[in-house]
């Protein structure tokens, strides 16, 4: 790794903090450990990290408040860490601007994959990793933003206007869980009681056209009750 990413780890549980730091350092990242809310806030502003891993249950404050403060300041990626969260907690954290969440207990491989994915997306957004000509690729799926066309391998997949818009929006947020309400707002601009059903039907068609089989690795992951991740 040419330039080390700096990652701020805010976690009150000492063992978990050490574990995460050790895992990150083993993968060549630089870590800044913080043990609570105030400590984390101070280190965030003094170290300017590239990524924050934030535990929501902190002894001296609510992690979501810290997330709000970080979002007021910058768009740097934040992965939220928490013991078994309800769907509503996850939606809240994502809508507050968290890029991803990991529930405890987590496997080290999963956490590292999330970290890589979030940093990749961040690089894409800052323009450093953007593919030429506005093309998105994921495995053998290609989206040509200019021509509004989608391919798997060489063959073109025919999508409706709305289906394409949804897929292209998800691909632009690749690596991040996009909540239902965020997609609805982006595609239809308004939200009523029927719009979530409209979204679900469109997603079912997209999955069918992309040849998704339940339980097998797909281009789009389902986060039940929350949203989708591409």
């Amino acid at each position: 790794m040419s330039s080390k990413y700096k990652i701020l780890v805010i976690e009150d549980e000492k063992n978990i903090r050490h574990l995460i730091s050790a895992l990150l350092e083993a993968d060549g990242y630089q870590t800044v450990p913080a043990r609570d809310f105030s400590n984390g806030k101070m280190l965030y502003f003094s170290h300017r990290p590239d990524l924050v891993i934030l535990d929501l249950g902190l002894p001296d404050g609510d992690g979501t408040d810290l997330l709000r403060e970080i979002r007021k300041d910058s768009l740097i990626p934040v992965i939220v860490l928490s013991a078994r969260m309800d769907e509503s907690d996850k939606v809240e954290a994502l809508d507050l601007g968290a890029n991803d969440y990991v529930t405890k207990p987590f496997s080290s491989a999963e956490l590292m994959a999330r970290v890589r994915s979030v940093l990749r997306t961040a690089a894409l957004h800052t323009g450093t990793g953007l593919s030429p000509g506005g093309v998105f690729t994921l495995d053998d799926l290609t989206i040509d933003y200019g021509a509004r066309k989608v391919f798997i391998g060489q063959s073109e997949i025919r999508l409706t206007h709305t289906e394409y818009d949804i897929l292209s929006y998800l691909s632009r947020c690749s690596g991040k869980v996009v909540t239902y309400s965020a997609i609805i707002k982006e595609i239809w601009g308004y939200s009523d009681s029927g719009s979530i059903k409209k979204l679900q039907v469109n997603m079912a068609n997209i999955r069918k056209k992309l040849g998704a089989k339940p339980g097998k690795k797909n281009y789009i992951e389902n986060e039940l009750g929350i949203g989708y991740r591409m």
Partner: protein
């Protein structure tokens, strides 16, 4: 607030039963003149009142009123109270005594029944706790023992041994995680205020998420999936139903010996979705089949070897979750070997527009 309606309904029941007895007695008197039946009818009335109301007071009032009515209407001299006749006095006293005793007995029986169901609940809880603490201790012992061995005499162990110990630590920690998830689910669906949150969930999105989670836990186990083509949504607490599917699949992996095929099939009936998870393993022993979903753990059923069976808890969690969703769950053995678990949930109406 709750006390007043109860009192009112009790009073209504008392009055209704008394009136019924009275009318019946009038009929008997006018039609057949079988006079001896009348006290028996009134005693029956008082007994029924005690049985169907909150107990004592209504039963007693009913008994006294019965005696009064009996003496007043049906005994000579008609429409006058006359306790100077020895016969009348004796019948009245006997009626009151019998009525009092029946009232007391019915209230006692009711109390005992309430106590019994309460103690049964407590027994179930105690059984569950006993099973859980037994099941928790085993993996904790492994984790504690293996990690201390690695820390204290790590240098004396071979690489293979270390690897094995680390592996068992991970396996047992994963197992503990599952157990804790199940217990959390129980606390959500058990008890008076069920905390399930139903949302409209698309069937294939749901199964995709559930199967991916299952594959993370059991990467070696393939699942053959058979789904209907239609677009189906179900009102469910997806996290909990996901746990049901995973528990049943894992149950097959742990207990269906000799299994080569594990199937998950969903079929659609009008307004219902039938989930069927079947295997071609050794099937379920008959005596286990009966108590499969009750979580009943008898001491002799506890595994004596190293193989632990969290099936009791896992499947009772499944049953509680499905029940809380208003669905049904069953298990049976297949004719040509293996077991099949089936649960049924209501589907939502199909959306009218695309």
């Amino acid at each position: 607030m709750k006390k007043i309606p109860r009192l009112l309904t009790d009073a209504a029941i008392t009055v209704a039963l008394l009136t019924a007895c009275f009318v019946l007695c009038l009929l008997i008197q006018t039609v057949s003149g079988a006079h001896a039946l009348i006290p028996a009818v009134f005693i029956l009335g008082a007994f029924l009142t005690a049985l169907s109301t909150d107990g004592y007071i209504c039963g007693m009032i009913s008994a006294l009123a019965s005696v009064f009515l009996f003496e007043f209407v049906f005994e000579l001299p008609y429409f006058r109270l006359n306790f100077t006749v020895t016969d009348n006095l004796v019948t009245s006293v006997i009626m009151i005594v019998i009525a009092c005793i029946t009232c007391t007995l019915t209230t006692k029986i009711k109390k005992q029944e309430a106590l019994k169901s309460q103690s049964e609940m407590e027994k179930m809880r105690a059984d569950l706790l006993r099973a859980v603490s037994h099941d928790l201790r085993t993996p904790l012992t492994t984790i504690y023992g293996a990690s201390s061995a690695l820390l204290e005499n790590g240098s004396g162990l071979s690489g293979v041994q270390k690897q094995k110990m680390l592996q068992s630590i991970r396996e047992d920690a994963a197992w503990l995680t599952r157990m804790v998830e199940n217990l959390l689910s129980i606390t959500r669906v058990d008890g008076a205020n069920v905390r399930i949150i139903k949302t409209s969930t698309v069937l294939d999105e749901f199964l995709d998420a559930a199967l991916i989670r299952f594959h993370k836990r059991c990467p070696e186990q393939e699942v053959a999936v058979d789904l209907p083509d239609e677009f189906i949504t179900i009102q469910m607490d997806a996290l909990l139903i996901e746990q049901v599917v995973i528990n049943i699949l894992e149950n097959a992996v742990c207990h269906a010996e000799g299994m080569t095929i594990l199937c998950l099939k969903v079929s659609v009936l009008p307004g219902k979705a039938v989930f069927e998870i079947s295997d071609n393993g050794c099937g379920i022993a008959k005596e286990k089949l009966r108590n499969l979903f009750t979580g009943y753990y008898q001491a002799e059923n506890l595994p004596s070897d190293n193989k632990r069976s969290n099936a009791g808890i896992g499947l009772s969690v499944c049953a509680a979750i499905i029940r809380a969703h208003g669905g049904t769950i069953t298990a049976e053995n297949r004719k040509n070997g293996g077991a099949v678990f089936r649960f049924i949930l209501d589907t939502e109406e199909a959306p009218d527009e695309q």
